[in-house]
């Protein structure tokens, strides 16, 4: 009764073939990541030093360090986060917990999807028009960060909304039936269980914000600045733009320098990601249902 028929054997072979094939495809995904990291470390690893990270560029940016750009990127990301995280989470909570299912909500959802699809260079031009000129912020950290925030807002909203909706409806109703308001329910039951997913959205946003070049080059990032920004109304250098500049715009740059800048940039992203992932795992370990 358990003897294998020809058909059984055939089916099993097909299955193992498919599995192997798909496994290879999955493995292919890791290759680019490894290749990028290996190239950067081999070619730019020699650049990395305390001095490189914490001193100004010299000799027309062909030598010296990257400190103003490093600090500028931190400024830009921090200010962008300060705007987009509260705004995005608030919008996600409204859409998931309060919004009635009507044409207005559907239009808002459509707008969010479309906002995510707008090319970053278009965001840059919007930023120039809105923040630099109309609001009169000039080319400044504030204008650049606001542009970045608008650009990454859909990521935060969509990820937060998805994780809010993943909290079972039964939890909400149990809480409502105790006489809790919607807001009390959100604070006591919904948010604590959605926070790890919301963090995922923020992680994605940080990664994207750190690396973006187009939206900031017209709105607040400078080619070269001999001083550090003192407020959000100053211009600043940024790592991503600096990488573009030393790779293509400045003659006689030693070959290792752009790779070193790129390595710092990618390390920053990876560092942020790992901190957030660790935090997320800690939070997820506390939640079970």
């Amino acid at each position: 009764m358990f003897a294998q028929t020809k058909l059984n054997i055939h089916d099993r072979h097909v299955q193992s073939l498919v599995r192997t094939l798909f496994m290879l495809m999955t493995a292919l995904l890791i290759l680019p990541v490894l290749a990028i990291l290996a190239t950067l470390i081999v070619k730019g690893g020699s650049m990395i030093s305390w001095d490189f990270l914490f001193s100004d560029p010299t000799d027309g940016m062909t030598a010296g360090g990257i400190f103003p750009a490093l600090l500028g990127t931190i400024w830009l990301v921090a200010v962008a986060l300060m705007v987009s995280v509260p705004l995005g989470i608030a919008a996600a909570i409204y859409l998931s917990e309060f919004a009635p299912d009507n044409w207005m909500t559907r239009i808002i959802n459509l707008a969010i999807i479309n906002l995510a699809g707008v090319p970053s260079i278009v965001h840059a031009l919007f930023g120039v028009g809105a923040f630099v000129l109309f609001f009169g912020f000039g080319t400044s950290i504030l204008a650049a960060s606001l542009t970045l925030a608008i650009m990454t807002l859909p990521v935060v909203i969509v990820a937060s909304r998805e994780s809010l909706q993943a909290v079972p409806q039964a939890f909400r109703e149990a809480c409502w039936n105790m006489g809790a308001t919607r807001w009390q329910t959100i604070m006591k039951v919904v948010l604590p269980n959605a926070i790890s997913g919301i963090l995922t959205g923020v992680i994605l946003e940080v990664s994207r914000t750190t690396g973006e070049t187009a939206p900031i080059m017209f709105t607040g990032a400078a080619f070269f600045l001999p001083f550090l920004p003192e407020s959000v109304f100053d211009q600043t250098m940024a790592l991503s733009l600096h990488l573009f500049v030393v790779s293509t715009q400045v003659p006689n740059v030693p070959e290792a320098l752009p790779y070193g800048v790129a390595l710092v940039l990618i390390s920053m992203v990876l560092l942020m990601n790992s901190i957030s992932i660790a935090f997320r795992m800690y939070l997820r370990g506390k939640k079970k249902w």
Partner: protein
């Protein structure tokens, strides 16, 4: 009690006799997006009685419960017509539905252990009404868990997750949580589905004790459970309330409709 919220529900001060009307339902009709689920229900539920509702699936029993504490607000498709009065106040006209829900504890067929500790599950409702003192919360948690016949099993792990308890324990946790609201009415919807027979009997004993303090509405698909517990029983069928009577009368054959007799004797349903 609900403190300084507007529209406090009069806690039927005139009561005292055991037969004061707690809930009165007139011409209740419920539909889901135009599809009728219940119509023409007229009945009153008295203080300190266990009011049983029996009937097969799709009879409208759960919809009936949902209309009592305005759960229709959770569901865009659910529409309620007619009048439900709680302590003489129409629930459809209340602005402070939160105070209404606080006074009506709800237990559903499938237990919902909120993903927080056992302690926090039971302390949630008191905290929502502003109780902060640890000693007071401790006392409420212990009292409610004890009355729900769960204290002995969880007293050493109050800080573990409520959602990790077994099904029967979670159901008793749900009951403890409902009791922590200090409700005037406790609605139970087929609470014994996910609970083993021994636990069911323990909960039934608890309900008999609670009757002296609150009104209990017991929806059940176990006819004998209604017979054991209910003072009066209503029989729902196909979206209508077919018959209401004292449990003793219904189960001793004094029925007006043959269908009631047939259902009680297990000939259909």
């Amino acid at each position: 009690m609900v403190g300084n919220n507007s529209e406090p529900l009069a806690t039927s001060a005139a009561s005292g006799s055991a037969s004061a009307v707690k809930l009165s339902v007139r011409n209740l009709a419920i539909d889901y997006a135009g599809k009728p689920a219940l119509e023409g229900v007229n009945l009153s539920i008295h203080e300190n009685e266990i009011f049983g509702i029996i009937g097969p699936a799709n009879a409208g029993k759960t919809s009936f419960l949902k209309a009592l504490n305005r759960m229709d607000m959770f569901d865009n498709h659910m529409h309620v017509l007619g009048d439900v009065q709680f302590n003489g106040r129409s629930v459809n006209k209340l602005r402070n539905v939160y105070a209404l829900r606080k006074r009506i504890g709800v237990v559903f067929p499938l237990p919902v252990g909120l993903p927080m500790t056992v302690y926090d599950n039971v302390a949630l409702a008191p905290r929502l009404s502003g109780i902060r003192k640890r000693a007071q919360l401790d006392e409420i948690v212990q009292r409610c868990l004890t009355r729900a016949a769960l204290w002995d099993e969880v007293k050493d792990r109050l800080q573990s997750l409520g959602s990790l308890l077994s099904g029967g324990q979670q159901q008793r946790l749900t009951i403890a949580r409902a009791l922590s609201q200090e409700p005037e009415v406790l609605m139970l919807d087929e609470f014994s589905i996910a609970v083993d027979p021994v636990t069911t009997m323990r909960i039934e004993d608890v309900l008999k004790e609670l009757k002296s303090e609150m009104t209990i509405i017991l929806v059940t698909n176990l006819v004998q459970q209604a017979n054991r517990l209910a003072d009066r029983t209503a029989f729902f069928l196909d979206g209508r309330c077919v018959e209401i009577g004292t449990t003793q009368a219904l189960f001793s054959g004094q029925v007006k409709e043959q269908k009631t007799q047939d259902y009680i004797e297990g000939r259909f349903g």
